[in-house]
Amino acid sequence: MSAGHLRHAGWIRTGIVAGLVGLLELACRLGWLPRRTIIPPSEMVSELVRLLLRDEYWGDIQATLTSVAVAFGLALILGFAAGVVIHALPRFRRALDPFLATYYAVPFFAFYPVFIVLFGIGRAPIIVVGVLFGVVAMIIATLNGLDRIPKALTKTAAILHLSPLDTALNVKLPAALPYLFTGVKLSIAYAFIGVIASEFILATDGIGYEIAYAFNNFQNGTMYALMLFIIVLVTCVNAVFHRFEQRLIRRRSR
């Protein structure tokens, strides 16, 4: 396959996605899919525009996004720090391995009610769940990144008599960066999952809460509009990170 074909990949992808959305629209309009199950994508969009023009949901959007941002930031810092510490303790790390590998099978948002008792009602317990979900992806990525620093680089740093701080900042960090970035990308995806899942369970605001509320009250229009909002938002955030990562990888292979 020539590189020429690959240049068109973006267009083909756009075509496929547009085709699928068009097919869904058609299936809804022709009544193949019942209205009580799903509404046409065009109605989701117009409903979303209508909702965003009114003030009703901006508070929820703000609450959810703020929680995700705080949880993501904390997960990055804590995950990186924990990763560095665990990497320095190989015996502890080997013992920890099976738990890190299984971590994401455990529905940690089930602890949300416990956190409500511990941290009170409000955004704090939701943020804690977001951090819990995001932090381990960052720990795993940090361990992986530190593992993959080429020996030649650390040896060169030793020969050049770089101080430990200089070695860490100017040699180790850049070498581990692409792997760290994988963790960053996963962390934000998991922070979203943790925050929205908690909002589904017991919250009093946030987009997750509003989707569950609309579902329980048979407001399919509102529900699908808000679901679309989350999907588009998360896809855009991921796309930005993905692009950034590609650039990092390209710069590295040069």
């Binding site: 992808r13 496929i16 391995d97 008792v117």
Partner: protein, 243 residues
Amino acid sequence: MRRVLDTGLLIVALGVIWHVLAISTSEALVTPAETIQRMMAQWRNPRFLPHVLETLNAFGLSLLFSVVGGLMIGLPLGLNRLGRAVAEPILVSIYSLPKITLYPLILLAFGLGMPAKVAFGTIHGIFPVALFAMNAVANVAPVYLRTAKVLRLSYPEALRTVVVPAAIPEIVSGLRIGFSLTMLGVIIGEMFASQRGLGFLLMNAIGLHDIATMLSVILQITIFAVIGNTLLLWLDRKLKAKL
């Protein structure tokens, strides 16, 4: 052996931390001992086992769909550069969507019960399996593929005898992530879309604020997941060592 001992020590340490936390936050948590007592009480109750079997059943089916479906998507795409270039961003973005958002859609489409849980487990597990399989196949040394061509192997033959064996360690890594996420998906599905299973018991316990049952169920899910993952991790290491 020392490794097992270390993990054992870690479990004891975690138990001690849990115990101290439980004592210092009287209302929010119960101690490990109380949780294990509750677990034993649950197993003595004849109504508990059907919930466990229900969850295992849903998990088994979801895992089957995730693995078969994921490989069917991932293997052919990995062999086709254009297909991979087109599909990868789509798969990656679906993989990282908070799929819990989709639970109303799944409920409306499948109704309450087994099909909804299996669908929920499958949408969690299928994409990581597909992504890992795709990248595993794409990273197979071109020399193997050319050899398959020279030997005039048919497409299915080449997949079965050359591509999959060469890519198997990475495929197993994908299965491991698929295993965890399928588990998570099934439990979430049960929490929101079911009247049976461990996830339902968990949601019920959350509603009743029955901390002992909550922790007991979470602990059992964790134990099951750790065992499954450790087996796959062991298989993973073994396969990688063979290469």
